[in-house]
C-alpha cells in the first residue's frame, strides 16, 4: 500500500495553485508609504496574521480558512496565522464591527506590537455592508481602529484575499 502511494506522490504534480500575478506597483508604493523604513526592516518577508471576527456571518472565515488548504497553501508565501495578537504583524478583521465586539477589537489592536497593519476584510468590515445602519453595529472596522488595507467582497474569494496580503508583503520587501 505504502510504496505505490509514495511512488504515485513522487511523480504526480503538486495540487497547489500557481501564485497570483504580481501586485501593481502603485498599490505597493502606497502601502509602503504607510510604513517607515525601520518597520520594513523589522518585518521582512514574513508576516504573522491574527484574525479577528468583529461580527461576521462566518462566510469570510470560511474563505480565510480555505486560504490554508493545499490549493492555496498560504504559508508558502511567508504568511501564517497566529493565536495571539501579541505575535501578530497583521490584524485581519471581518464583520460590520458590532457594538458587542468593539472593545475586544480595540484591546486586540492595543495588544499588537508596532509595526502593525490592520486589514478590513469583506464588505461588512469595509463599511458595515448590508448591516450598515443597524443599532447593533458601528459600520466598519474604521469606526474603532485605523485601517491600512480594504479587501472587499461578500465574501472575497481566497485568490483576492491572497492578492491583498501579498501586496502588504511586497510593501515590506
Amino acid at each position: 500500500m505504502l510504496v505505490p502511494k509514495l511512488l504515485r506522490n513522487l511523480i504526480s504534480r503538486p495540487l497547489t495553485d500557481a501564485p497570483p500575478a504580481p501586485t501593481p506597483p502603485e498599490i505597493v508604493a502606497e502601502l509602503r508609504a504607510r510604513l517607515d523604513e525601520a518597520s520594513q526592516a523589522r518585518l521582512g518577508r514574513s508576516l504573522a496574521i491574527r484574525q479577528v471576527d468583529a461580527g461576521s456571518c462566518n462566510g469570510c472565515e470560511l474563505e480565510i480558512n480555505a486560504l490554508q488548504n493545499v490549493a492555496h497553501d498560504l504559508e508558502r508565501f511567508g504568511l501564517r496565522f497566529v493565536a495571539s495578537p501579541r505575535h501578530a504583524d497583521i490584524l485581519l478583521v471581518t464583520g460590520p464591527l458590532t457594538r458587542n465586539m468593539a472593545e475586544a477589537l480595540t484591546r486586540a489592536r492595543a495588544a499588537t506590537p508596532e509595526p502593525c497593519w490592520v486589514v478590513a476584510l469583506g464588505d461588512c468590515a469595509v463599511d458595515g455592508g448590508v448591516f450598515r445602519g443597524s443599532y447593533a453595529v458601528l459600520g466598519g472596522v474604521e469606526a474603532a481602529v485605523p485601517v491600512d488595507l480594504l479587501i472587499p467582497g461578500c465574501p472575497p474569494a481566497p485568490e483576492h484575499i491572497l492578492e491583498g496580503l501579498l501586496a502588504l508583503m511586497e510593501a515590506n520587501a
Binding site: 495540487l15 484574525q51 479577528v52 471576527d53 468583529a54 461580527g55 461576521s56 456571518c57 462566518n58 462566510g59 469570510c60 472565515e61 470560511l62 474563505e63 480565510i64 480558512n65 480555505a66 490554508q68 488548504n69 493545499v70 490549493a71 492555496h72 496565522f81 493565536a83 495571539s84 495578537p85 464583520g95 460590520p96 458590532t98 457594538r99 458587542n100 465586539m101 468593539a102 472593545e103 475586544a104 486586540a108 448590508v130 448591516f131 445602519g133 443597524s134 443599532y135 447593533a136 453595529v137 461578500c154 465574501p155 474569494a157
Partner: protein
C-alpha cells in the same frame, strides 16, 4: 392532556402550511412535554410570544402564541430545558419576561446597545454601560477558572467560554454569545421578502443556502405561490451541495483538532474542488443570494453541471479511503471514541436537530417533512460521541453525493418563458418553513402586512439547541479535548446571535 390538545384548544390564528393557535396564559402555562413532541423555537414580536413545536409522530409543526400582558408570559423553561436560552433572548430583544424561567440572565444584550429591547413596540433609549457578566459558580477542591474569548485562538467566530476545571477535567462550561449580534431581524422588518432575503442569506454564512431556502419557502407559503419546477430542483441541489461542502469541512477540521493532518488536507482539497465547481455553476463559491423568495436568482451555467459532477466523482472515489484512514489509526480513534458523550436523557429533553441529534440516535431530519428524504434512507448512529458525529457526517456526505448524481443530470427544463421566479403579490399572509441544513433544521417564520412587507419574522438556526448540549457534553472531559468536542458539534455563533 397532550401538548397538541392544549394548543388546538386555543384560537386558530392562521399560518401556512402549519397552523398557529393563540392561547391564553393559563393554557400556555399548561404546555407540558409529552412523548414525541419537541420544542423547536420560542421567539417574540411586540407584545406577543410565539413557540414552534414538532410533532414527531405526525411529522408536523404546530405553533402556539400567547399575549404578553404587561410584558410578561409564563415561562416554558421549567418543563422544556431548551426554552431557557430562547427566554433569555425573548427579554433581550423583545422585552418580554418569562416569569418563573430557569435563567434570568441576559444573553445577547451585553449592555452596549443604544437602546433596550430593540424589537419591542417602543424601545427605550439606553446609555451603554456593560455590567460584568455573571456565570454560574462551581465549588470544590482546587477548582479554577479558564476564561476564553471572545477572540479565540483559531480562525473562528467570537464567543466567551467560561470553564471551571479541576486539574485537567472540565467541571462546568458556560457559553456566552451575542458578540456578533447585528440586529438582523430589525433590519428585515418593513422590507418586502425579496429585499430581506439578503439578511437571511447572511444569518450564518456556512448555511446561506439553507436559511435562504427556509426564508423563501416561508415567504412563498405566506403568499400562497410556488416557484417554477426547475427553480425548485436547483434549490434542492444547492441545499445538498451546501451540506456536502460543510460536511467535508467538518470531517477535515475534526481530524485536524486531533492533530491528524492527512484527513484535513484531503478533505480540504476535495471541498475546494467542489467550491470551484459551485462558483462555475452558480457564480458564487458559497452560492450566496442564489435562492430567492419565488425561485432562484439565475440558472445554472452551461458547463456548471459537468463541473459539479466531476468534483462529485473525485469525492465519491476518495471518501471511502478517508474512512479507512480514519478507522485504521488508533491514535486518532483514541481521541474521538468516547469523547464528548451526550447523555440520552438530555438528547430526549432538548431534541437537537441535525448531525448532533442523529449521531445520538434521534431519527429526525427536516427533509422527511418535504419528502426529500425517504424514511428508510434516514441514517443514524448510536454513539453520541465525537466519533459518532464524524461517522454521521461521512455517511451523510456519501448520501448527498448519490442524491446529486441522480438529480443534476435530470433537472426539469425551464418553463417556455424561461422564468425562474414567480412574481410575489403585494398582500398579507403568514408562513413558516423548516429546511434541513448541514447543521440541522433551519426554521423561518414571517407575517406580512397588507402591502407584502415583513411585519414580524424569525430565523432560527439549529445551533440554539446545540450550544446547551455542548456545555453538558464537555463535563468530565479534559480541557485539551474541548476543541475536538466543540468542532464535532460545530454550533453557529452568528446564527444564534441574530
Amino acid at each position: 392532556m397532550t401538548a397538541r390538545s392544549v394548543i388546538e384548544a386555543g384560537q386558530r390564528a392562521g399560518c401556512t402550511p402549519w397552523a398557529r393557535y393563540l392561547l391564553d396564559a393559563r393554557r400556555w402555562a399548561a404546555l407540558a412535554p409529552s412523548p414525541g413532541f419537541s420544542l423547536l423555537a420560542l421567539w417574540g414580536e411586540a407584545g406577543v410570544a410565539h413557540a414552534a413545536f414538532l410533532d414527531e409522530t405526525r411529522m408536523e409543526v404546530l405553533l402556539a402564541s400567547v399575549a404578553a400582558e404587561e410584558g410578561r408570559i409564563p415561562a416554558l423553561s421549567p418543563f422544556w430545558p431548551g426554552a431557557a436560552l430562547f427566554e433569555r433572548v425573548l427579554r433581550d430583544l423583545w422585552g418580554i419576561e418569562a416569569v418563573g424561567g430557569t435563567d434570568q440572565r441576559p444573553f445577547l444584550d451585553h449592555g452596549r446597545w443604544p437602546l433596550l429591547a430593540p424589537l419591542s413596540a417602543r424601545p427605550p433609549a439606553h446609555s451603554p454601560n456593560p455590567p460584568p457578566m455573571e456565570f454560574l459558580p462551581a465549588t470544590g477542591d482546587g477548582v479554577h477558572i479558564i476564561p476564553v474569548g471572545p477572540i479565540h485562538a483559531g480562525v473562528i467566530e467570537p464567543g466567551h467560554f467560561r470553564f471551571h476545571i479541576q486539574g485537567e477535567i472540565i467541571v462546568r462550561l458556560e457559553v456566552r454569545l451575542g458578540y456578533t449580534h447585528k440586529g438582523t431581524l430589525s433590519l428585515m422588518q418593513g422590507k418586502p421578502p425579496r429585499a430581506a432575503a439578503r439578511f437571511a442569506a447572511r444569518l450564518s454564512g456556512d448555511s446561506t443556502v439553507a436559511h435562504s431556502l427556509a426564508f423563501a419557502r416561508a415567504a412563498e407559503a405566506a403568499f400562497g405561490v410556488e416557484a417554477p419546477p426547475r427553480a425548485l430542483a436547483l434549490r434542492v441541489a444547492m441545499l445538498e451541495l451546501e451540506r456536502l461542502h460543510n460536511h467535508l469541512n467538518d470531517l477535515g477540521f475534526i481530524a485536524n483538532d486531533a492533530a491528524f493532518a492527512a484527513i484535513h488536507a484531503r478533505c480540504g482539497w476535495l471541498r475546494e474542488g467542489l467550491l470551484r465547481a459551485q462558483a462555475e455553476a452558480f457564480g458564487h463559491r458559497l452560492m450566496m443570494d442564489r435562492v430567492l423568495p419565488g425561485g432562484v436568482a439565475q440558472d445554472v451555467s452551461a458547463g456548471g453541471i459537468e463541473a459539479i459532477l466531476t468534483a462529485l466523482t473525485a469525492m465519491a472515489a476518495e471518501l471511502p479511503e478517508v474512512l479507512q484512514i480514519y478507522d485504521r489509526h488508533a491514535s486518532l480513534q483514541d481521541r474521538v471514541a468516547g469523547t464528548g458523550m451526550m447523555d440520552a436523557r438530555l438528547v430526549a429533553a432538548f431534541a437537537p436537530g441535525g448531525v448532533v441529534g442523529r449521531a445520538a440516535g434521534r431519527g429526525f431530519d427536516a427533509r422527511l417533512l418535504t419528502g426529500d428524504l425517504a424514511p428508510r434512507a434516514l441514517i443514524t448512529q448510536q454513539g453520541a460521541d465525537v466519533d459518532a458525529r464524524w461517522r454521521q457526517r461521512h455517511a451523510e456526505a456519501l448520501q448527498s453525493i448519490e442524491f446529486l448524481q441522480a438529480l443534476l443530470p435530470a433537472l426539469p427544463p425551464a418553463l417556455p418563458d424561461g422564468e425562474l421566479t414567480v412574481a410575489l403579490p403585494a398582500r398579507g399572509g403568514e408562513g413558516i418553513a423548516l429546511v434541513e441544513g448541514f447543521r440541522g433544521e433551519c426554521l423561518a417564520w414571517m407575517r406580512l402586512d397588507g402591502a407584502g412587507g415583513i411585519e414580524a419574522c424569525m430565523l432560527r438556526d439549529p445551533s440554539w439547541l446545540h450550544w446547551p448540549l455542548l456545555e453538558a457534553a464537555v463535563i468530565g472531559n479534559i480541557v485539551a479535548d474541548f476543541p475536538l468536542i466543540n468542532k464535532s458539534i460545530n454550533g453557529s455563533y452568528s446564527g444564534v446571535d441574530l
